[in-house]
Symmetry: C2
Subunit: 384 residues, 2 copies
C-alpha cells in the first residue's frame, strides 16, 4: 500500500510519500530522474537522536550511500528540552566540519523535535539548503514533517524562534512505528483526531468505527494507512492554501492554544505535545458549545453549531486513544490565562481561538473571553 500526496505550494511544491519499507529507498528516491531532488555525489547530513539512529540510522545511511551521496551524521539528545539554539549550533558545527555546500542536503530522521531542528538548521545554513523529512513518530508523520514550519524553543516559549522552510521530500515509512513507544503513538493519534474534527468528517467516522486506537499493534495496516493518508491530505490541503499562516492555516492549531500553555507550564516534559493537544481540544470543544448559544442581539447567528453531542463524540475518540481529557494536577488556571497572552497567535493582545463549527469544520475567533476560558478550564480540573 503506497500513496503519494502532493503538497502543491507555489515555487516549492513537494511530495509526501507513504510507503511501508520506504526507508530503504530514501537514497534512490532523492537521486532519481533527470532533475533529482538532491544531486548525486552531494553531501548529505543525517540528523537524528540516539534511539532512532540505533534503530534506523544504518538503513538510512546505507540507502543514501548506495545512491552515491557522501553521508555524515549529527546525533542530538532526544526530547523537547534539547530543542534549543544550542542544538542548532551543534548541527551547524557538523555542517562546517563536513564542508556542506549550498547543493548539499540535511535529512531529519526522527520525530518532531529532530524534524523542527533539522529544518531550521537547514533553513539557516548558508541562508538555506535542502532538507528532507523522514519522520519516525506518528505525530511527526501527520503534522510536524509537513508544511515547512521549523524552529526551536525560546527559554520562555515554545517555537518562538524559527523559519518557514519547505522540505524537498517527506518520506513516511509506517513500519518504523512498530518501535514507537505506545504513549507517543497515542500522541500522534491526537493529531489524527484533530484532522477529523477540523477538516475530514469521513476520517472522524473511520476512527469512530475502529475497535481500538490506543496501540500500534491493535491498529490494522488498512486503518493506519487511512489515518496517514487522510491526515497528510488534510494538512496538504490546508497549507497549500496558506503557506505563511496568514489565514486558514490557523485551524491546524485546533487544541494548540490551551495545549501550548499546558506544555509550557509543565516544562515540556511531564505532558507530551499530543497529550497537551488532546486536553486543548477538550477545552476548545466546550468553548465552542458556549458560542453555539444564540447571541443576545436579535437576528444574530451563533458562531458555531457545535453541541454537547459533538463534544461527547470527540471525547469518546480521545478516550479510545487513551489520551488525557483533564488538566494535569497542580496546574493553575490563572497561569494558563497568562500563558495564552504570550502565544504566537495573539493579535493586538487578543487571544485567537480555533473552535470547531461542526465535525469536519473549524473557524478562528477572537470572541472568546477570559471568563469563558476559565469556566471551561474549571470543568477540566481532574476529579481524581
Amino acid at each position: 500500500m503506497k500513496a503519494t500526496i502532493r503538497v502543491n505550494i507555489p515555487q516549492t511544491p513537494y511530495d509526501v510519500r507513504i510507503a511501508p519499507g520506504g526507508l530503504d529507498y530514501l537514497g534512490a528516491w532523492l537521486s532519481a530522474g533527470s532533475s533529482p531532488l538532491v544531486k548525486p555525489n552531494q553531501k548529505v547530513l543525517v540528523v537524528s537522536n540516539p534511539v532512532v539512529f540505533d534503530l534506523y540510522g544504518e538503513r538510512a545511511i546505507a540507502s543514501l550511500r548506495q545512491a552515491g551521496y557522501e553521508v555524515c551524521d549529527c546525533i542530538l539528545p532526544a526530547g523537547e528540552p534539547h530543542k534549543t539554539l544550542a542544538s542548532i549550533e551543534k548541527i551547524h558545527d557538523v555542517a562546517y566540519k563536513n564542508r556542506l555546500e549550498r547543493s548539499s542536503a540535511m535529512v531529519a530522521l526522527g520525530g518532531g523535535v529532530i524534524g523542527d531542528m533539522t529544518g531550521f538548521a537547514a533553513a539557516t545554513w548558508l541562508r538555506g539548503i535542502a532538507v528532507v523529512q523522514v519522520p519516525t513518530s506518528l505525530l511527526a508523520m501527520v503534522d510536524a514533517s509537513m508544511g515547512g514550519k521549523t524552529g526551536v524553543n525560546h527559554p520562555k516559549g515554545k517555537n518562538l524562534i524559527g523559519a518557514f522552510h519547505q522540505p524537498r521530500l517527506v518520506l513516511i515509512d509506517p513500519q518504523v512505528l512498530e518501535t514507537l513507544p505506545v504513549r507517543e503513538f497515542r500522541a500522534g493519534v491526537a493529531e489524527v483526531i484533530k484532522y477529523g474534527v477540523i477538516w475530514d468528517l469521513p476520517l472522524f467516522e473511520t476512527l469512530e468505527a475502529a475497535d481500538r486506537l490506543d496501540d500500534f499493534t491493535c491498529v490494522s495496516d488498512q486503518l493506519l494507512q487511512a489515518m496517514l493518508v487522510h491526515s497528510c491530505q488534510a494538512k496538504a490541503d490546508v497549507v497549500s492554501q496558506d503557506v505563511q499562516e496568514s489565514g486558514i492555516r490557523a485551524i491546524l492549531n485546533y487544541g494548540h492554544t490551551v495545549g501550548h500553555a499546558v506544555e509550557s507550564l509543565t516544562g515540556y516534559s511531564q505532558i507530551n505535545h499530543g497529550e497537551a493537544v488532546a486536553i486543548g481540544m477538550v477545552a476548545a470543544a466546550k468553548i465552542a458549545e458556549m458560542l453555539s448559544q444564540p447571541l443576545s442581539q436579535p437576528l444574530s447567528q451563533p458562531l458555531s453549531q457545535w453541541d454537547a453531542t459533538a463534544t461527547q463524540r470527540q471525547q469518546q475518540l480521545l478516550e479510545k486513544a487513551q489520551l488525557p481529557r483533564t488538566l494535569p494536577a497542580g496546574i493553575k488556571i490563572d497561569d494558563i490565562l497568562m500563558a495564552l497572552k504570550s502565544d504566537k497567535k495573539v493579535q493586538s493582545g487578543k487571544v485567537r481561538f480555533v473552535l470547531p463549527k461542526s465535525i469536519g469544520e473549524a473557524f478562528v475567533t477572537d470572541q472568546v473571553t477570559d471568563e469563558m476560558v476559565s469556566s471551561t478550564l474549571e470543568e477540566l480540573i481532574s476529579k481524581n
Copy 2:
C-alpha cells in the same frame, strides 16, 4: 534631493528611499496610506549599537512614536565580533519581554552588522516578522541593507548562518554620514567602486571625475547622491533578477572571495569589510588580466577583455579613496588558499571567482587555478 528606487522582486517588492533628513519621517512613511508598511499602534523594536543610538536613536524613536507605534529598543555592542547567535538571542529576549507579535516590526538602525543581525532576528522571530532597514554607514546604505541577506557569523566563518528576509523599507538619510568615521566612509566607497566595475560604467566615470573620494566632507551633495542612487539602482537591478543568489547575483561578490578570506584570517577586526573588498578587487582584477590572454586552444575566445589599463584605472579610484591595495602584513598566501575552499560560493569543491570582463561588466568563473591565485597574491604582498 530625494530619490526612490523600487526593488522589484516577486511577492515582497519594496522601496529604497534616499532622502536627506528622512530619519525624521521614518514613522510617517511606515504608517502612511491605506495599506501601511507597518500597521499603526503596532510594536516596533529598534535595534542599534551604543554609538549610533546616542546620535540618532532619539530622533528615530520620536518619529516612530509620533506615528503611533509602541517603541522598545535593544542596544548591542558594535562590531563584527558581536555578530553572533548570542546577539540574536538578546534581540529575541527583548522581543519576548515586549511581547512582539507577528504584526510587529523591527527597525535596524546602524551599519551592516546591526542590519544583518536585526534582519536575521526578524526572520526567525515567530517564523518571520517585518524588518525595516535604516542604514547609517555608507557601506550598509549601498550594500548590506538591500537584497534581504541576513545572518550572523559562525565561529569558523563569516555569514555562514542566516536567511533571506526582505525588508519592508530601506530608508537612507545621507545626512547621518557626517558622523561616520572616515575609515568607514572609505570602506563604503569600496563598494561604490565595485558597482562601477561590475555594472555601471557611467558611475565609474563619475568617480574618476571626482577630485576626492576619501572623506565625506570633501564629497559634494551631488556626487554623494549620485553614488547612492547609482549603487542602490545597480543592486536593485541585480537582486531583482536573482533573489536567492542562484545566478547573476553572484557578481555582487566581486572582490569578496579573497576579501572574505582576508577578513577571516585577520579576525574581523584589523581590516574592515570594505578594505578587505578593496584588496579582493585588486586580486580579482589581476586574475582577470591573466584570463584575458588568448587560451592555448585555437579559435577559443579569452574569457575577459580586462587589461592592465583597466586594472590601473580601478587602482587609481581605490587610491583616491585611500583604500588598501596590498595584503595586511603577516598574512600567509597558503592560509588564504585554504580559506577560499570553505567559502559559501564553493560548488563541488571548486572556488568560483567573480571577475571583471570590462569596466561595467563582470562574470563568474571556476577556471581560476590555485596557481593563478597564489601568483597574484604574491604581487599583493606589501613592499613596505
